[in-house]
Amino acid sequence: MSMRTPLRQVRGLGSARSGTEHFWHQRLTAMANIPLTIGFVVVVASLMGRNHAAVVQILGSPLVAVLMLLFILSATVHMRIGMQVIIEDYVRDEVAKFTMLIANTFFAVVVALASAFAILKLSFGV
């Protein structure tokens, strides 16, 4: 029997005081996504069959643009955490897991920035 306490083994590996951060952010963005999703679906449906000029005008109008930007922010944070959970659940190989976790973050950031840029460009009318 070892005289060493279990504490010795976990030192440096324990809580970084951020254990529930993802859990909470997932709930926070989930709550935000409820009204934003409903608004988003209505906006998308209302744009169907319209010509380019009309779509630019509607997407660029302040109210719709702000709704879209909020949805983009909240949804990309939410989906990044969600996909991280899926990867951690199913990918057992350490190298593959870390590669996919990195790719997951890159994907979420690219989606967020590209769509936010498009909305801002339309809104500022450049």
């Binding site: 409820i34 209302s46 069959g49 380019h52 949804a75 990309t76 969600g82 840029f117 909305i119």
Partner: protein
């Protein structure tokens, strides 16, 4: 994250194929599946937005695709997945608050997720397309 060294093969917990299919279980799977589909589908959303921002010619290509039968099906399916995931998430928030675990409530919630997702998607499309949008 710390890498754990596996000393010997540990038994794995039984997976999906072991259990009898139940509605609550299917809703759990559907929640994760719709989440993954929505994740990949953001590429469509980005394509659409970038095309609108690029100009009429780029937008014409997207409009042709979104206006085709397959495009309409994908778009409607995507919004349904979005609403289904939203209602599934609402169910999770109810559970987080400590309610809805009983045998009657959880079945009722699972059914409400299916029926509600189809119903709400149709209502939102009706409001968006028929009342506000191009279908007026």
């Amino acid at each position: 994250m710390a890498e754990t060294k596996v000393q010997h093969e540990r038994p794995l917990s039984p997976h999906l194929q072991i259990y009898r299919l139940t509605l609550t279980m299917m809703m759990s799977v559907a929640h994760r599946a719709t989440g993954a589909v929505l994740y990949v589908g953001t590429l469509l959303f980005v394509w659409w937005l970038i095309a609108v921002a690029t100009g009429p010619n780029a937008y014409a290509g997207v409009q042709w695709f979104m206006g085709s039968p397959i495009g309409i099906l994908i778009l409607f399916g995507y919004t349904w997945a979005l609403i289904h995931h939203m209602l599934g998430g609402l169910r999770h928030l109810i559970w987080d608050a400590g309610y809805g675990f009983g045998p009657v409530e959880r079945e009722w919630l699972a059914r409400a997720t299916v029926v509600g997702s189809v119903g709400l998607t149709i209502v939102l499309w009706a409001v968006g397309y028929l009342l506000i949008g191009g279908g007026r």
